[in-house]
Symmetry: C2
Subunit: 365 residues, 2 copies
């Protein structure tokens, strides 16, 4: 019977840690006193087991549990449930990492395009970084957003995404916005020979998501964006079967105690994200450079047969930071710039300058 | 233009708090420098605004933001996104509470059954508490789970729910399990005249949820369970339109930076949960009695025209704790007992004893 390994950091005394770890193994599997389980097979193959306990700093321990893969049903939301469902409600427990056997990686699916597929989609024949910008502000009309998209595409931005705050609001309902934006990007691509790809932001329950997917596909979009912690990793996993590359947004992802490299670099990738946005260091968010590097490494590391996912550091990007970002992340990265372009007097010029620096940074290495 | 009020607790110096609060208002709305926004309507009606700042303990402040309702599109996942999407990634920010105008409450939907509707569903003519138990352990066959369900229904348990770890796994695939369990409960109800209701656990992406809903409906289940933080509040909100009462499970609810009364008592209720499970004090989880009381009060408090949602404290329940729980929560509560019944040598007897104590606690008040 196959198991995955889930690593946790637990705040606990040395005297209590063995009991605590055993309790966690039960919580994240059968969630009842094992003495009351008569079924031997369940006891041997379903109940979680403690695989190791190591001290990890003052009054903390790193505990690895072996959880039965069968309990996940290879469904990404259920994986989150088994990894961190109940213990998310236990503040002394943090999920650090997850390891799965190769067959499970394939079972969950992973990225269908990955970094190579994304470059292909964007018509990028070199190993240069990709560039990305966002349609803002929400509250704008579809026409205004489309005009902005056209400018960004004409300037050479590789991927134009919805601001993650754009959903299905009265000011720019999904159906009208997506059609208008894709049309503008198509026109800009035709005029310039660029291959800008549009990633609208999907969200909502099953019915709404299905309708949005239909609309997006009909409009001819080249990518989809989803916030898996808002809409569920299960939704991300199902969208990955729809033949379009996926961009994961980390919204609502910080309120849990799951280590960012595990959540954003691994779990989003496992569920099918081809590119993963995360808060960059040095901007409005407080991830350290260390954490950012770890996220990027988790997203790109060899992992069974799963393609690498493209790290997308975001927040506080300016054209002047391009070289620093590429020096830090390497060229297998997508640089996401938002406010800085919109603040520039000459948006198209600023976007073109950004694009040129991104291209140059790719050649310089 | 209507606004909702979102209350946050921010760790910050007094010298910085005004700037920090203003930045949060921008983050949770337009997410770009407002100086770059030309559209006056957006500036006035879409950009978040700081409504109040008060000191709240050492180096902490309580900040109330007015966020434009239009940015939510009255969609529950998008509401989470606007309340706490990006700032979930800023560890100094905690979401404490949310207030919405009455029209918005109705727009989101809220519980369609509420406490009164649930009592009616369960054939409970008095104001007594409801009783609930869970089908465990996962790994059991559909037949084993059905047998357990039959025992619990025969004993008089009002609502039998899936263990939240039950999903669509190989040992008890959803379709077989739900049919078998509902059949067993139907048989027990016929034999005893009880009105036990089954709440299977739904989860997954749009396609899977739609299929599970179809199966559950065909099987004749009386209630549905969902973990909104796993499957998305948008999924909860859509399920609320399907004519079945909803039981929300807090898995993945994390709770450390969204105050539990706001998340479980208010937001789950707003999105359509008729009953809300939360970790009880004195059990395996660390919520204080204060927090538990606040969750129950938030779930049941008058809130526009929204029916009250039934609080379901869970974890560590035993028959001996029934009176204590009713003294603490009152009779508008559902008492959820799991492991303690399964540990008893005589399950049916233990369940009957629990049921009798629940009924008696209802009469005693």
């Amino acid at each position: 019977m196959h198991r995955l390994q889930a690593s946790y950091r637990i705040r606990c005394t040395a005297a209590e840690i063995e009991r605590r770890a055993a309790a966690l193994a039960v919580e994240q599997s059968v969630e009842m006193p094992t003495a009351a389980i008569a079924d031997q097979r369940i006891l041997e193959h379903i109940v979680g087991r403690v695989e190791s306990i190591e001290a990890d700093g003052e009054a903390h321990f790193r505990v690895v549990l072996g959880l039965a893969l069968d309990t996940t049903g290879l469904e990404a939301g259920q994986l989150m449930n088994m990894l961190f469902g109940n213990c998310s409600l236990q503040p002394e427990v943090e999920l650090l990492d997850v390891e799965l056997p190769p067959a499970a990686l394939e079972g969950f699916g992973g990225p269908r395009f990955g970094i190579a597929g994304l470059r292909e989609r964007c018509g990028v024949a070199t190993r240069r970084p990709l560039s990305c910008s966002a349609l803002k502000p929400q509250g704008s009309s579809p026409e205004a957003l489309a005009a902005l998209a056209g400018e960004l595409a004409a300037a050479g931005i590789d991927i134009v995404k919805d601001d993650h705050g754009l959903a299905d609001q009265v000011d720019a309902p999904f159906a009208r916005r997506v059609v208008a934006v894709q049309r503008a990007i198509d026109a800009a691509n035709r005029a310039t020979g660029h291959r800008c790809v549009y990633a609208p932001s999907l969200g909502g329950g099953p019915r709404r998501l299905r309708e949005q997917l239909r609309i997006a596909r009909e409009a001819g979009v080249g990518m989809l964006m989803l916030a898996p912690m808002v809409s569920g990793l299960g939704a991300l996993q199902e969208l990955a079967e729809e033949g379009l590359p996926l961009l994961a947004h980390p919204a609502l992802g910080g309120a849990t105690r799951i280590a960012p490299p595990a959540l954003i670099g691994k779990l989003f990738r496992l569920a099918g994200a081809d590119a993963v946005i995360f808060p960059n260091h040095g901007g409005r968010f407080s991830y350290t450079p260390q954490t950012c590097r770890a996220i990027a490494e988790a997203a790109r590391a060899p992992w069974g047969t799963l393609p690498a996912a493209l790290p997308v550091p975001a927040g506080g990007m300016t054209p002047a930071r391009v070289e620093e970002m590429v020096a830090f992340y390497g060229t297998d990265v997508m640089l996401l710039i938002g406010g800085a372009l919109l603040e520039a007097g000459d948006l198209r010029g600023a976007a073109q300058a950004f694009v040129q620096r991104v291209h140059a940074a790719g050649e310089a290495r």
